[in-house]
């Protein structure tokens, strides 16, 4: 296949970026999207140009590093990660627009690479169970109903890719935060900190230049792990509960 790519190029955060057009030829339909970009980059390097910077690591859909806006879709036209998108989803002669995630909470670093450390700060604000090493009771001391455990797992599969933020018309990180709040809130171990957790995490999310959620649902539709809208409802439920209980976060 021969393709025309229009790629966002921006050498550093304060530079003015623009879409630059490249042609790539002999693209195999079995290539992954990132392998197609590898081919482009080798071309660019050999011709003395700067290769396109993009984040990636595992290339099997689990680390959450990769993430591109492809033709206006977060992670491209299939509901999967960019690394698991294959060129057979495109056809010969296609023009493909490739842009970075756009969010105030995700400042751009270079080309298609953004800084998603805001997510880590949301986790650091409360997305954990305080269980210092060595303090744990016997694992079977607390049975967990399979239903809760499975639901917690479903929420816990969020890979922190940021597609939800990228796709949300409001630039909201609600689905990500909700996934973590749900995961921990559904388990008995997560109960003691449940109120404080949701309050602190939502506060941190708001402090990070993400938008508010008006339940549009675009996030869940592009989430490669299929995190459901239900998790947002659960977050809201917990948040209202915590506010009603007048929970004041410790420290």
């Amino acid at each position: 296949m021969n393709l025309t790519l229009r790629v966002w190029r921006q050498p550093h955060p304060t530079a003015k970026g623009k879409m630059v057009t490249y042609k790539v030829s002999d693209v195999s339909p079995d290539m992954s999207f990132l392998e197609m970009l590898d081919v482009l980059n080798e071309q660019l390097i050999l011709s003395g140009d700067d290769p396109v910077a993009f984040d990636h690591d595992c290339r099997e859909g689990i680390c959450g590093s990769c993430g591109l806006m492809i033709n206006g879709y977060a992670h491209g036209p299939e509901q999967t990660t960019t690394c698991q998108l294959h060129m057979r989803s495109f056809k010969d002669g296609d023009e493909i627009d490739i842009e970075p995630w756009r969010s105030g909470g995700f400042p751009l670093i270079k080309d298609l690479v953004v800084d998603r450390s805001a997510f880590d700060r949301i986790i650091a604000s409360g997305g954990f169970i305080s269980a210092p090493t060595g303090t744990a009771p016997e694992a079977h001391a607390t049975p967990v109903p399979k239903k809760d455990s499975d639901a917690a797992f479903d929420a816990a599969t969020c890979i922190g890719c940021g597609a939800c933020v990228a796709a949300c018309p409001n630039g909201s990180a609600m689905l990500f935060t909700a996934a973590k709040v749900s995961h921990l809130g559904l388990l008995p171990q997560g109960q003691p900190e449940r109120d404080a957790r949701v309050i602190k995490m939502v506060a941190q999310q708001d402090a990070e230049d993400f938008g508010g959620c008006s339940n549009i649902g675009e996030c869940s539709a592009v989430c490669p792990k299929g995190i459901s809208m239900e998790t947002i409802s659960r977050l809201n439920h917990d948040l209202l509960g915590a506010l009603r209980a007048n929970a004041v976060p410790a420290s």
Binding site: M31, L44, P51, A131
Partner: protein, 648 residues
């Protein structure tokens, strides 16, 4: 014997495990004998932890909880992306929840045997003891392990064991365990107890007065090269499978941290021990950038075959039954398609070498579910393997319900790594190595679900208890930024980057990496022979020379430059590959993942030579041009009897 390729130095030994008490008491005895640090003094002690995978993440969190000052480094944007996230199958622990006869001793025994009797008894026993605490710890952190309807934890059984001791979280166990450690680490970061350096790559170790005192790192965003000092340095930087270019490791996984520490004096043990996994999705073309693992469980119902005729490129469905060769069933009638990983992998390579491989490049064999589908029905197959079939379909674009899957072995794990003693301390005082980066517990072959166990054992429980013995002597005198050792290390890093950027040749870094990987795979992969290894050893220095004269690296040093990052890693892989081949050549026996064609039983099984090779090969770096020095650590078996593996 390839004597000209290396010289032999003094033997080494672990001096930390208290062998004067029975094996079951050694770990508590070691903790008792080791010195402690008073909580009030811990703030003054500074530990650098490089890596945030299961090993590094759990270690950094635990040390910070204990009150030490911790600085954490990793190359991805978030600690949660460390490659541990990709582990699928599960984690072992001797909980005996199934009442099926499991015990610490059995896990210990299985691991030593699984490692083909090339690991240290003391370490493995400790690992088995700690395994149960890991599960408790992870459950307390909220890791959503699979559960049964009664609310208790579920288990499955894994290769190399007759008991059900593997805990799992669907096919994403590594992810869930990592998030547990990551959250504990983020909690400490939120509390201000851990200084963090995301997107920062360690490029050298700073050794002052014989002690590891800091690292040189490059901020991958700004390109700035910085130095960081501490009282001790912990490396948890994962495995080096990417020396093969194509592997199941993440693209960024590298040997740089351990290799540069090795060049600073840390011995590197058993580099040739690599594990190859039989059921991966094969390559589809030269552009292939990495390989994806599929659960081994597929071999329970899938039948492996290739056409009898070479070059038979008919649609597999058109090939009649009597023109197919179900070679595993033919060669191993008792185990059939369920022979162990290394055998299945090797046999697949053999049939492909005979020209009977299928798919692009002839590198693949069929894994056929047709018979199972007729026997059990499509529904049952969907229920059992649905997600794997979907993954396969997404990657290959073929429908495995219709056409047989194609599979091929791929490099998956490296048992070798920096040599450490019972305290997980390397031969450089103050340098500790944990997780896949060290060589410690798996011998010549790692059992499934044991790497996660080891990473977390090291990080949560072992290191935080052993490092105190070293730190108790601290805080050590402050090292000044202008200390000659610091300046030299920093300059070496900058000089290397500048050199790489100045060559401006005609070949890309990736092309060198691909060539090297292909070479190591062909000559030091599933099967090694003296001949193949010598070929590799002839070629690698040429590749190295060409790399340093003809590579083209774009961009500049002081910017975000992924091409430069890759170049530095490939430079190290080239050097490491050479040592791997030397190690493989010197070990004139087969054991675990190391298969020397010269050393096999009549049935084609790995044939160990315990008389001559029951030792750990720990290599000392020597400047270019001089052969590396081999130090042997003898392995003594007090509790486990040496025996030959057999799968007939």
């Amino acid at each position: 014997m390839a004597l000209e390729l290396f010289t032999e130095g003094d033997p080494i030994a672990d001096t930390k495990a208290p062998t004067d008490v029975p094996i079951g008491e050694r770990w508590s005895e070691r903790k008792f004998r080791g010195r402690l640090v008073n909580p009030a003094n811990r703030r003054k002690l500074h530990v650098i932890v490089v890596g945030t995978g299961l090993a590094g993440g759990s270690a950094a969190a635990t040390l910070a909880e204990a009150g030490y000052k911790v600085t954490s480094f990793w190359y991805q944007d978030s600690p949660r992306r460390a490659h541990s996230v990709a582990a699928q199958g599960g984690i072992n622990a001797a909980k005996n929840y199934r009442n099926d006869g499991d015990s610490v001793h059995r896990l210990f025994y299985d691991t030593v045997k699984g490692g083909d009797f090339r690991s240290r008894e003391n370490n493995v026993h400790r690992l088995a003891e700690i395994s149960t605490n890991i599960i408790d710890q992870c459950v307390a952190q909220g890791v959503p392990f699979a559960r049964e309807y009664g609310g208790l934890l579920d288990n499955r059984s894994f290769g190399g064991a007759q008991v059900s001791r593997t805990f799992y979280a669907r096919g994403q166990t590594g992810q869930q365990l990592l998030y547990g450690a990551y959250q504990a680490l983020e909690r400490q970061m939120g509390l201000g107890n851990v200084e963090q350096h995301a997107r920062t790559e360690m490029l050298d170790l700073i050794v002052v007065d014989g002690k590891a005192r800091g690292i040189v790192a490059r901020n991958l965003v700004t390109g700035e090269v910085t130095t960081h000092m501490a009282d001790a340095v912990v490396l948890a930087t994962g495995g080096y499978g990417n020396v093969f270019y194509l592997s199941t490791n993440a693209k960024g996984s590298n040997a740089t941290a351990i290799w540069r520490a090795h060049k600073r004096g840390a011995l590197l043990a058993n580099p040739c021990y690599t594990q190859i996994h039989p059921t991966c999705i094969p390559t589809s073309g030269d552009y292939q950038s990495k390989l994806t693992l599929m659960s081994e469980s597929l071999r329970n119902d899938g039948r492996v075959w290739v056409p009898k005729e070479r070059g038979d490129d008919r649609d597999p469905r058109q090939i009649p039954e009597d023109e197919r060769d179900y070679y595993l069933e033919r060669k191993y009638p008792a185990f059939g398609n369920l022979v162990p990983r290394d055998i299945a992998s090797r046999q697949a390579k053999n049939v492909c070498d005979e020209g009977r491989g299928v798919g692009p490049g002839g590198l693949g064999v069929y894994l056929d579910f047709d018979e199972a589908m007729q026997r059990l029905g499509r529904k049952a197959i969907e229920a059992k393997y649905g997600n794997l079939f979907d993954m396969y379909a997404r990657i290959t674009g073929e429908d495995p319900y219709e056409v047989p899957m194609r599979i091929f072995p791929a490099v998956h794990y490296t048992m070798g790594g920096l040599w450490v003693d019972y305290d997980l301390q390397s031969t450089i005082p103050g340098l500790f190595v944990i997780g896949e980066a060290n060589f410690s517990d798996h011998g010549a072959n790692r059992l499934g679900a044991s790497a996660l166990m080891q990473g977390l054992a090291d990080g949560y429980f072992v290191l935080p208890n052993t490092i105190t013995d070293y730190l108790a002597a601290g805080p050590f005198p402050k090292v000044a930024e202008d200390d000659p050792a610091v300046v030299e290390a920093r300059q070496a890093v900058v000089a290397q980057s500048e050199k790489l950027l100045s060559i401006n040749g005609t070949r890309t870094v990736a092309s060198f990496h691909r060539e090297l990987g292909r070479l190591v795979w062909d000559y030091c992969g599933m099967e090694r022979s003296e001949e193949s290894l010598r070929k590799a050893l002839d070629r690698i220095p040429e590749i190295r020379k060409e790399f340093w004269t003809n590579v083209k690296v774009s961009g500049e040093q002081g910017t975000f430059n992924q091409n430069l990052e890759h170049a530095g890693r490939v430079a190290d892989f080239i050097e490491l590959a050479e040592l791997m081949c030397i190690d493989a050549l010197h070990r004139n026996e087969s054991c675990g993942g190391h298969f020397r064609v010269e050393s096999q039983t009549e049935e084609g099984e790995a044939l160990r030579d315990d008389e001559n090779y029951a030792y750990v090969a720990a290599w000392e770096w020597t400047p270019e041009g001089e052969p590396p020095v081999l130090h042997k650590e003898d392995l003594n078996y007090e509790y486990v009897h040496l025996a030959q593996r057999s799968y007939k």
